[in-house]
């Protein structure tokens, strides 16, 4: 009797066994790659590892050095400038473009392709292209001067104070189209009845967009925000291709600091400390957000 009883009620562990077995590789990958290697990195950030990882602990020495380093502080500052500009501008530009394309214009597909096209290029290509575009001798400046405005000066890449904005221009050129496409997809998902209702009530179109459509697009905005933010934190190749951190160290970014420390300075400990700080920053932003977004409601 007891035996048949267990057969009727298998333990929870073995319910949906095939699904659980199928998930094992992913769970293992997540545990080993994401959790395991992160812990390994954090542990080694407290060591004096040079070219090779070693467990010769030195306490918080690497972190003290990190926060005393001009290069790191400038990197953080640049990331804030770059991130702030990118978030605000790519969303504004992307949303405006999406709204314009949403007006049921002719040849929409052509415009959409043109605007999204830069996203198909790698950051390295974007960086090199904009390095030439912003070069005073044969880029924007020389073209404007050629037209006749002789005193026109626009040379961001050789001026440490504004070099980050030169990088932002390139990143916007590449990324805005992507934001546009995501938001456009969201706009297309809005029920026509909403538009009819606001038209009946005599609400102007711009007001409908701002106060009705934008709140309805919240899930799309959140997804886009996560993707764009992740791109901002890990920005590396664009800077390397466009300015290589210059002039001087004026356009250094954290990801480049990590690479430089690990592979040029042969100082793994310092690189690990910097990447731990990056992980911490991301965690500080992501965890409260994820809690608010997913923690409250139970979706079953």
């Amino acid at each position: 009797m007891a035996r048949s009883n267990t057969q009727e009620r298998p333990s929870r562990l073995f319910r949906n066994l095939s699904a659980k077995i199928a998930a094992v590789p992913m769970i293992l990958t997540a545990m080993v790659v994401f959790v395991g290697f992160s812990v390994w990195t954090v542990v080694h950030s407290f060591t004096k590892s040079g070219l090779l990882p070693r467990l010769n602990f030195v306490g918080t020495l690497q972190y003290e050095r990190l926060w005393n380093s001009d290069k790191w502080l400038i990197s953080i500052q640049n990331l804030v400038i770059f991130g702030g500009c990118m978030l605000v501008l790519s969303f504004v530009i992307g949303f405006v473009l999406a709204c314009l394309l949403d007006q049921k214009i002719r040849y929409e597909g052509v415009f959409r392709t043109i605007l999204l096209y830069p996203f198909a290029l790698s950051f390295v290509v974007t960086g090199v292209v904009w390095q030439w575009m912003l070069n005073p001798d044969f880029g924007v400046q020389s073209i404007v001067r050629g037209i006749g405005w002789e005193s026109f000066a626009f040379d961001p890449l050789n001026n440490g104070k504004i070099v980050m904005f030169g990088v932002v221009i390139a990143a916007l050129w590449q990324g805005s189209g992507f934001v546009m496409v995501l938001l456009l997809a969201g706009l297309r998902g809005i029920d026509d009845e909403i538009w009819k209702a606001t038209r009946v009530d005599g609400v102007p179109a711009w007001k409908t967009y701002l106060f009705v459509i934008v709140p309805m697009l919240r899930p799309v905005f959140v997804t886009t925000l996560v993707i764009v933010t992740a791109g901002i934190v890990k920005v590396y190749d664009l800077v390397v291709a466009q300015t290589d951190g210059g002039p001087g160290i004026a356009s250094e970014v954290p990801a480049k600091y990590v690479y430089d420390q690990m592979f040029l300075n042969q100082n793994l400990g310092q690189g690990f400390a910097a990447s731990t700080m990056m992980l911490l920053t991301v965690a500080v932003i992501i965890i409260p957000w994820a809690y608010l977004e997913f923690g409250g409601k139970k979706r079953g």
Partner: protein, 409 residues
């Protein structure tokens, strides 16, 4: 059946690869015209011993190539031999037992007697054993001047740093960039190194750079060097080139009057068919003191557990230090040989000056030799920041320099 056949074939190919153990892959980052020609001399000499040189050139500079080399060695896919700069770049690899000792070869062939200056072999020595073959000496302490530029400005070509500084205002008036420094960070560190060696003097240079003596930073001699550093920043304002050879090209074309650069710049002048003394002037130690530094390249051999490969590695080491290969290689490379008993009659004026100083003058350690990769890159970052921030006070440089020296000692 088919799979088994393929597997069998693969094993056979692998076995064949092992049987030809005399194939030695050599990785290096010598890809420019003169560099490739120079390394081909080694390949030719090595092939003549019956072995085969498999060229593993990695494009880009050392900063690109070194991470690739290191990850191959640590990742268990070592090459037969690999280039590094003299000094501490491969120190940890040696300490981890990944590199083989050349002590037996060195002792048998008496390297300690033939290599001159001795410091260049000492850089290969870890715990009393020799781990690398030095192949050349590049002095980093040179000022290159364009005779054309000074003629255009109606000036006499300077013979030392002070005259050069004095000429700067007139050069500016003539529309010539007095001093050109590229934006690569190491170039800025090289300028600093030159100023310390020439202005503060070799004694202070040894105390600060080689011995990392923090007290020596606060001496009147170093203050003079720091003052010269500020002057150099003023003279370099307006130079917006990136690579060192672009900067050299400016000097060749007369758009810039001078560049502080190692003797590898000579290759660029040679390609442009310029003649030393007529078209350009070279001043060792900024014309202030007769001094050369001993940076350069060396080859390291990863430890591979195969007697045939080990034998081929020894053969390669012997080839690289042999008088014939030294002459052929260094003439093409524009560097100085690591032994003084070879005849370099074909050397040009500038190289001859360098060789004379190497024989009779003061010799100091190059940056790569004296500092760890960590310290020298920190120094580069500090200097490139200084040269790009006109408002950065020299006191801050001093403070940061002390910090870097303390960290690395």
């Amino acid at each position: 059946m088919r799979i088994r056949f393929l597997l069998g074939a693969t094993v056979a190919v692998c076995a064949a690869g092992v049987a030809h153990a005399e194939d030695i892959e050599v990785t290096h980052w010598w890809t420019s015209g003169s560099e490739a020609a120079a390394v081909a001399e080694f390949a030719k000499a090595f092939d003549a011993t019956g072995n085969k040189w498999v060229d593993g050139a990695i494009a880009g500079s050392g900063g690109v190539a070194r991470p690739v080399m290191v990850s191959r060695i640590t990742g268990g896919d070592p090459m037969g031999a690999t280039q590094f700069n003299h000094g501490q770049q491969a120190k940890e690899l040696v300490e981890a037992g990944l590199m083989r000792s050349l002590e037996d070869v060195a002792k048998a062939d008496g390297w300690r007697d033939i290599v001159h200056p001795a410091s260049i072999l000492q850089s290969c020595e870890i715990d009393g054993e020799i781990y690398c073959v030095p192949v050349n000496i590049h002095s980093q302490l040179w000022l290159w001047l364009s005779n054309d530029a000074f003629e255009k400005a109606g000036l006499k070509v300077p013979t030392n740093w002070e005259e050069f500084v004095a000429a700067a205002p007139d050069l500016r008036k003539a529309g010539i960039q007095p001093l050109v420094i590229g934006q690569q960070p190491w170039q800025a560190a090289l300028v600093f190194q030159n100023l310390v060696a020439a202005i503060a003097g070799p004694e202070v240079y040894k105390q600060v750079i080689t011995d990392k003596n923090v007290d020596a930073v606060n001496t009147p001699e170093m203050d003079k060097a720091f003052a010269a550093l500020v002057t150099a920043r003023e003279l370099a304002t307006g130079s917006n080139v990136q690579e060192w050879n672009q900067a050299t090209t400016m000097v060749i074309k007369g758009g810039a009057a001078g560049q502080i650069m190692g003797d590898w710049a000579q290759g660029e002048f040679a390609i442009a068919e310029q003649v030393a003394g007529k078209d350009y002037t070279c001043l060792p130690g900024l014309g202030v003191s007769d001094i050369v530094s001993t940076g350069g390249d060396a080859f390291y051999f990863p430890a591979i557990d195969d007697p045939k490969i080990a034998a081929a590695q020894e053969a390669l080491a012997r080839v690289m230090i042999s008088p014939e290969a030294q002459v052929a290689f260094n003439l093409k490379k524009g560097s100085m040989p690591v032994r003084s008993d070879v005849d370099l009659t074909a050397a040009n004026d500038c190289m001859r000056k360098g060789l004379d100083i190497l024989a009779n003058g003061t010799v100091v350690d190059g940056l790569d030799q004296a500092l760890s990769a960590d310290a020298s890159n920190q120094l580069s970052d500090l200097m490139i920041q200084f040269f790009n921030q006109p408002d950065m006070p020299v006191e801050k440089v001093k403070e940061s320099l002390i910090g870097i020296l303390q960290l690395s000692s």
